[in-house]
């Protein structure tokens, strides 16, 4: 009787644990299948070119020769610097322009605020290919083709609506009393923004900035069409591996790994706040 009761009690528990083990195995398998191309790329970057095109294998003697070759033959660093300049330059500029605007929308709302905000979002929905021709011709005529400045201008404008929007939502979440108290103590608008608002909303500003960096870093329509050699960021540099004579898988993998590593880490850090910016607050 006792033994019977104990087996009865144990079996649901055992089935619960085995269900959990099954779920863990399944969940991880799915995650690894999705992640596999990235994992494979990272591994291939540490192989020799011969090992890269041999039968797939996880066992090989790792080498850094592809990483060296990528720098020596094509000057990887130059393209990486272009990416850094363009992504961070456009983000800084967008933040500078967006902070006053988001501040006034959050703290001095008027009847028109909502309309302005929605209109800003709607500019984001203009497909880039629809304005490729005029932008290309303007850039050609004023000498902005294949310059970092040109890309910075485009990316700033491209991300401005999202940056304003995200900052607005972060500013709105801030308790108004603190700013109120500061104003009572005689703080000017400038002091209010720099000494109260910005420090208090720094995490929000940081994640907004990171999203803007990610979007600019990965942008490939304008970088492929507006740059050729001088100002080409990593997206355009990687594209140069598509020509048949340039197909070296280990080098492609090494260059790609370096190109995506920082952004992957940024993305992991900000995944939660990113939903806010990517859906314009429509999903909470």
């Amino acid at each position: 009787m006792t033994s019977l009761r104990s087996t009865n009690a144990a079996s649901p528990r055992r089935s619960a644990t085995s269900k959990k083990v099954l779920l863990t195995v399944f969940g991880w398998s799915v995650a690894l299948v999705i992640f596999f191309p990235i994992l494979w790329m990272v591994l291939t970057g540490f192989k020799t070119e011969t090992a890269a095109i041999a039968d797939p294998s996880f066992i090989f003697s790792p080498t850094l020769e592809s990483y060296q070759a990528v720098q020596e033959r094509s000057g990887y660093v130059r393209f990486a610097l272009n990416s850094v300049a363009v992504a961070f330059g456009s983000t800084l500029l967008a933040l500078l322009i967006a902070i006053p605007s988001a501040y006034s929308m959050a703290f001095l709302p008027t009847k028109r605020t909502k309309g302005t905000l929605l209109w800003m979002l709607s500019t984001k929905m203009l497909p880039p290919v629809g304005v490729l021709v005029p932008i290309y011709l303007i850039f050609r005529d004023v000498g902005l083709l294949d310059t970092r400045t040109g890309l910075i201008i485009i990316y700033t404008l491209m991300n401005l609506p999202i940056v304003v929007w995200m900052l607005y939502t972060f500013f709105k979440d801030m308790p108004k009393d603190i700013l109120e108290a500061g104003r009572m103590d005689g703080a000017t608008t400038f002091q209010e923004v720099f000494f109260l608002l910005l420090p208090l909303t720094l995490p929000g500003i940081a994640s907004t900035g990171l999203l803007s960096v990610i979007l600019s870093w990965n942008e490939a329509f304008w970088s492929l069409n507006l740059t050729s050699s001088k100002a080409a960021p990593l997206t355009a540099y990687i594209a140069s591996f598509s020509s048949p004579e340039g197909l070296f898988w280990a080098k492609l993998s090494a260059a790609s790994t370096m190109a995506i590593a920082p952004i992957l880490i940024f993305g992991w850090m900000t995944q939660k706040q990113m939903v806010r910016g990517l859906t314009f607050g429509a999903v909470k």
């Binding site: 863990t24 969940g27 991880w28 799915v30 995650a31 999705i34 992640f35 596999f36 191309p37 990235i38 790329m41 322009i97 967006a98 006053p100 605007s101 006034s104 008027t110 909502k114 302005t116 905000l117 800003m120 979002l121 709607s122 500019t123 203009l126 497909p127 290919v129 629809g130 304005v131 021709v133 005029p134 932008i135 700033t156 404008l157 401005l160 304003v164 990965n218 490939a220 492929l224 069409n225 990593l234 990687i238 594209a239 598509s242 492609l252 993998s253 790609s256 190109a259 995506i260 952004i263 992957l264 940024f266 993305g267 939903v275 990517l278 859906t279 607050g281 429509a282 999903v283 909470k284």
Partner: protein, 296 residues
Amino acid sequence: MNKTRASGRTVGGLRTLSLQAPAVTLLLLWMVVPLGMTIWFSLQRYNLLMPEMTGFAGFENYQYLLTDRALWAAMGNTLLLVGWVLVITVVGGTLLAVLFQQEFAGRGIARVLAISPFFVMPTVSALVWKNMMMHPTNGVLAWLAESFGLPALDWFSSLPLTSIVIIVAWQWTPFALLILLTAMQSLDEDQVEAARMDGAGPVAIFFFITLPHLKRAISVVVMIEMIFLLTIFAEIFVTTSGGPGLATTNLAYLIYIRALLDFDVGTASAGGVIAIILANIVAIFLVRMVAKNLEE
């Protein structure tokens, strides 16, 4: 009393104006100038290779484009690409969100791995898939097929559009997963528990509780993806260049060919106007939804 309020409002209005002016002016220029130019060019005879050919063309460019087989092929490809990627990412993203909502060991890391493809730049993901995954002799998929005794597939020559769909879906499923996972967090656990007490199985719970709860998030995912997917470019640029023939040429790629390879500014601009109209049909619905949300 009245007076101070009125003056306060003007001061506020002035401040609002000066604070918002930079952002609003820049975005207005960014929207109006290129848009106006695209529309203007689309009505002109304008080919960079034939500078002597100028003048007002009326709707000639549109007529030329609309009777061109390439446009309809490109429209068809655009629809197929957007449609299939949407189906795969939304169904896949929903199922993945349900999976990664369950508690299991190392769930946090598994989630991070699964959303990673979204952060990979499009040129990298396209080239990694084209070469290391889908290569007909040395790719991982060919190796897998052979180890099961199946013939290896030459993905990009026998199924070019499908190959592009696979690559783009791989990039965007994590986006759907990320959004839907967030939406799932506001699911009422008590309701699920109550349904379970009443004897509802996991399938019933999914269809009658989870799915209705995700309805709104799913429609946001669909609209945002549509806007981006309508003008997929880099993935095609680095893999097939729109070929073989026109098999993978979508609207964005066709405009690129007309503009920067044929230098036919007029026709390319007419194509641009068509792309803008298509995107706006989707955008209107998205903006409406966001607006409704703002009011809450």
